[in-house]
Assembly symmetry: C2
Homo-oligomer: 152 residues x 2
Amino acid sequence: MRELVCEARMKLRDENYRLTRQREAIFEVLARQPRVHFTAQEIHDVTREKHQMGLSTVYRTLAILEEIGLIRKLDVGDGVSRYEFDGGDASPHCHLVCLRCGGVMEASCPAPEEMQVILRADRFKIYDQSMVFFGFCQGCTESPSALVGGQR
Amino acid sequence: MRELVCEARMKLRDENYRLTRQREAIFEVLARQPRVHFTAQEIHDVTREKHQMGLSTVYRTLAILEEIGLIRKLDVGDGVSRYEFDGGDASPHCHLVCLRCGGVMEASCPAPEEMQVILRADRFKIYDQSMVFFGFCQGCTESPSALVGGQR
DNA sequence: TTAGATGCAAAGGCTTTGCAATTCT
DNA sequence: AGAATTGCAAAGCCTTTGCATCTAA
């Protein structure tokens, strides 16, 4: 986690952005649980406890972090954007959304180049991908009686 | 196309929904170009030319059509929902979004059960999927000079 | 010092909802 | 006739923007 924060600091400087306490607070939240996919509102709720923080600052900071490639915006189709650290060279991954508990998990998946082959999409040059799968996570599968009428 | 409209009519009746001219107009638009992915606004613009039609009726009808499984909502992450006929038994497909012209195309892809194998996701039971790929379509690839600074 | 960043409130864009009027059955 | 459906306007959400104030460098 420390490395993630350091990386973010350096990257911000490199790109000529200032290091403010708000920005630090935001990427600390993201770095503390790199596998969690926070919404802007959630980040705001957490950071607000310790620092003065406006929701618009959260959005503006997330836009910057996304632009310089530190984080990725994730959209699972529920109308709210989520954000996660972008592993950069890390292995490509997709997201698993549980229809019952609403949890969002990660799973590794083929890289765009491989998907291009799998899809036989030879007339479209793929650079990026977003793969979201809906179903039931292990915990929710183990209590099948409750599966009826899950959320979403 | 005729069959699609008939199917929609029958399904609506089966589910105890009334057959109104507004609803007919809406699924006629969707059926006329089954491979196009319309936004609610676009459907409204088209149907309004010939019938009285409120935007809220479009949204309400689309919600019903989606609920009874006639159409699918598609989200490519630009904040607007698109709708397409749900082939039902048709082959599963994904969407290709061109970063330059904004066009949304379809491509066939592995079914959820196959993706489950490809992902080796044995702790998550996949029932549905949404795969969106971003890149450049053939037409836009052929004029590479214009690729710099595409939209989105 | 001063350009950049922040917070607040207002505005935007898409979608949903309340309600009286209308229209299928 | 009677319940479902519609259109309009208003409200809801999430996100962005304008602007005066503040702050990192």
